[in-house]
C-alpha cells in the first residue's frame, strides 16, 4: 500500500501548492489595487463635502425654499441602484449587499411601489438577470476605471427620468469600507434629498444666481454623480479588501493543508522503510 499512497499524497501536495500560489498572487494583486482604490476614495471626499455643504446652505438659507427633489412623490417608481463586484472570490462581499437590496425590494413591493433596478458590476447584473424587464441599465466592468463622466452620464439619465415624472425614490446599495478588515453593506437614500439641515428664519446674505432653486436644481445631477462616484469607488475598495482577506485565509488554509499532508507523507515514508527493514530482517532470519 505504501508506495501508491505516498504517490497520491505527493500529488495532492503539489496540487494544493499550485492553488496556494494562485491565492497568494491574488492576495498581492488585491492589496495593490486596494491601495489605489483607497487613495481615490479619499480624494473624492473634499469635493463631495463642499457640494453637500453648498446644497445644505441653499436649502436652509433661502426663504420659502422649495424643490421637487426634496419631497417624496406619491406616484412613480422606486429606483434601486445596486453596486457589487465584477468578480467573485471575495468572501461574502457580493452576497451581503444583495441580501440588503433584495429585502428592500420586497418591502417596497409590499407597499405597492413599482421597483426598477440599475446595476453596477457584473455580479450584480448576473444576480438580477432574473428580472430582465426591470433593469434600467447595467454598468459592468466600470468600477476599476470609473471617471466622473461615467458617473455624470448615469446621473443625467436618472435625473431625466425623475424630471419626466417616472421616478419617486432613488436609493443606492453599496459596500462601505469601514477599515481594510471590515466592510459593511449599506443603503442610502439619494432622492428625495434627505437630511438637509434647515435653520429656521435665517435671512440669507448670499446672492444666488439666477435663484436659489435654480442653483439647487442644477446642482442635483452633480450631487447624484458625486454620490455615485463616491459609492462606486468605495464599493470597489471594499471588494478589493474583501478579496484580499478571503485570499489571505485561503492561503493560510492551503499552508495548513500542506503541513498536514507533509506529515502524512513522512509517516507513510517511514512506515514503508520500516516495513522494508522488517522484510529484510525476517528474510535473513529465515535463511539461517
Amino acid at each position: 500500500m505504501a508506495a501508491s499512497n505516498m504517490k497520491a499524497i505527493k500529488r495532492r501536495i503539489k496540487s494544493v501548492e499550485s492553488t496556494m500560489q494562485i491565492t497568494k498572487a491574488m492576495e498581492l494583486v488585491s492589496s495593490s489595487k486596494l491601495r489605489h482604490a483607497k487613495e481615490r476614495a479619499e480624494q473624492a471626499v473634499p469635493f463631495f463635502n463642499l457640494l453637500y455643504e453648498t446644497m445644505s446652505e441653499v436649502a436652509s438659507e433661502a426663504v420659502g425654499f422649495h424643490s421637487a427633489y426634496t419631497e417624496l412623490r406619491e406616484q412613480g417608481a422606486a429606483l434601486l441602484i445596486v453596486m457589487a463586484g465584477d468578480r467573485g472570490l471575495a468572501g461574502g462581499f457580493n452576497l451581503n449587499v444583495f441580501r440588503l437590496a433584495d429585502q428592500r425590494l420586497k418591502e417596497l413591493e409590499a407597499q405597492g411601489r413599482e421597483v426598477i433596478l440599475m446595476t453596477v458590476g457584473k455580479k450584480a447584473s448576473e444576480h438580477y438577470a432574473k428580472f430582465p424587464n426591470r433593469i434600467l441599465g447595467s454598468f459592468d466592468n466600470v468600477a476599476e476605471k470609473i471617471t466622473t463622466y461615467t458617473a455624470l452620464h448615469m446621473a443625467e439619465h436618472i435625473v431625466h427620468l425623475f424630471d419626466e415624472g417616472h421616478l419617486a425614490l432613488v436609493e443606492v446599495f453599496f459596500t462601505n469600507m469601514v477599515s481594510p478588515l471590515a466592510q459593511e453593506a449599506r443603503q442610502m437614500q439619494v432622492i428625495p434629498v434627505p437630511n438637509l439641515e434647515k435653520a429656521e428664519g435665517v435671512q440669507s446674505l448670499t446672492n444666488y444666481e439666477p435663484s436659489p432653486e435654480a442653483v439647487f436644481n442644477s446642482l442635483i445631477p452633480q450631487y447624484l454623480a458625486g454620490i455615485l462616484y463616491c459609492t462606486i469607488v468605495d464599493t470597489y475598495a471594499s471588494e478589493q479588501a474583501a478579496r484580499r482577506m478571503a485570499m489571505e485565509n485561503a492561503t493560510d488554509n492551503a499552508q495548513e493543508m500542506i503541513d498536514d499532508l507533509s506529515l502524512k507523507y513522512n509517516r507513510a515514508r517511514q512506515a514503508s522503510i520500516t516495513q522494508e527493514l522488517t522484510e529484510i530482517v525476517s528474510g535473513a532470519n529465515a535463511q539461517e
Partner: protein, 135 residues
Amino acid sequence: MSTFPLQIITPEKVFFEGDVQRVIVRTTEGDLGILAKHEKYVAALPSGPVKIIMEDGTERIAALSGGAVKVSPLRTAILANAVEWAEDIDIDWAKRSEEDARRKKENSRSKEEQKFAELKLQRALNRLKVSSMKQ
C-alpha cells in the same frame, strides 16, 4: 493688489489651490469676475472657460466642464465635474470627441439622447475654444 484663496475641486482631485488676484468664470447669467472681498455668492456653471490671474499677475486659463462656484468670506471654491489647463488639452482627442458628439446628435432617436449629445458637444467645443485661448 490684494489676493484671496481659491480652490478648484473635482471628484478626482483638488485641481488648484492657492492665492489669486482675480478669477473670471462663465455663469449661466454671463461672465463674472471675482476679486478679493466679493460678497457671498453661489451660481451654477455650465461648460466654459475659467480665467485665473495669479498672485504674481500671470494669467492661466482652464476649461471647465460643468460645475458651480461658491464665494464665501473665507475662500472661493469652484466645484467642477472635470477641468483641464488650456495647455494640457489634447486637441486631437477633443476634435474626435466633437465629431463623435455631432454624429450622436444626428443619429439620436429620443429627446434624451439628443440632450446628452448636445452636452457632450458643448464640452468638446469648450475644450477646443479654451485651448485656442492660451498664450
